[in-house]
Amino acid sequence: MNGPFTHRHPLDGAISANPGRSENHVTVLPEPMVLSVAALPGEEQAVAATLGGVSATALKAVGPGEWLVVLEKADLSLQRDIAERAGALALVTDQSSGRAVLRLQGPKARAILAKIVPLDLHPEAFAIGQSGNTLFAHVSANVGRIGEDEFEIVLMRSFALFAFQELMEMGLEFRLTAGFAT
């Protein structure tokens, strides 16, 4: 029997069950882990040091002394590790069910994203591992480069459908396809 709080992804129903896959593709993470880490005043550098073990592409810059740790799947040992090491210096909150994570990849990924965000996406200005909160269409999202032709977009769950549709529309000319990660 299903309980009243069954997990449901905000893009359930928006993506066809058997999507085709072109070279430009959006991978939606069905159950990502998103942790918010916000340093207490004066502890910014100490907290940054404790996050050294998180890979550069999983650690998202939000603002001074504030980060998101974004992983494909829940990693309880990492979560515990972060909570233990940064717990006294920062507020660590699990945001997994509040955020949606989209990965845009392909040779035209940058061209597609450039139509939606105001960031300078040239690899010299926005290298692998770099990220930031920015304007995504009309909503706020964290955009980061996780590969040469791969970007990760982390945004509020309730914005996910709008942002996804916008992204697909911008990708229309490049035959952008989408599907859940398997």
């Binding site: 603002g63 001074p64 105001p118 300078d120 930031g132 909160n133 920015t134 304007l135 706020s140």
Partner: protein, 95 residues
């Protein structure tokens, strides 16, 4: 008109990412006369030219910034984090 603001935390961003609160003015003492408080709350100079304003980077780092710009040409002279601005102001007052 330049519409890029160089946020000290995020780098160059368009003005659409920000929300403008208004002129930077120092808060009067709690016991200041009614007239001073009245001016602080309701009266704006609205200069045509250089002015310091509070900008909130709503869609970016969510920090308050102090942007010094020309209201006529929108030339931006400087952007500081509001906390740093306040700290330097307090320091100057103490000296």
């Amino acid at each position: 008109m330049a519409s890029l603001i160089t946020c000290p935390h995020c780098g160059s961003r368009p003005k659409e990412e920000f929300s403008i609160r208004g002129e930077v003015r120092s808060r009067p003492e709690p016991a200041a006369p009614f007239e001073t408080w009245y001016r602080y709350v309701y009266v704006r100079d609205n200069p045509k030219g250089r002015q310091k304003e509070y900008w909130h980077h709503v869609l970016g780092c969510r920090r308050w910034l102090v942007v010094e710009r020309d209201t006529l040409t929108h030339e931006v002279y400087g952007v500081t984090d509001a906390a740093a601005y306040r700290a330097s102001e307090v320091k100057e007052a103490a000296e």
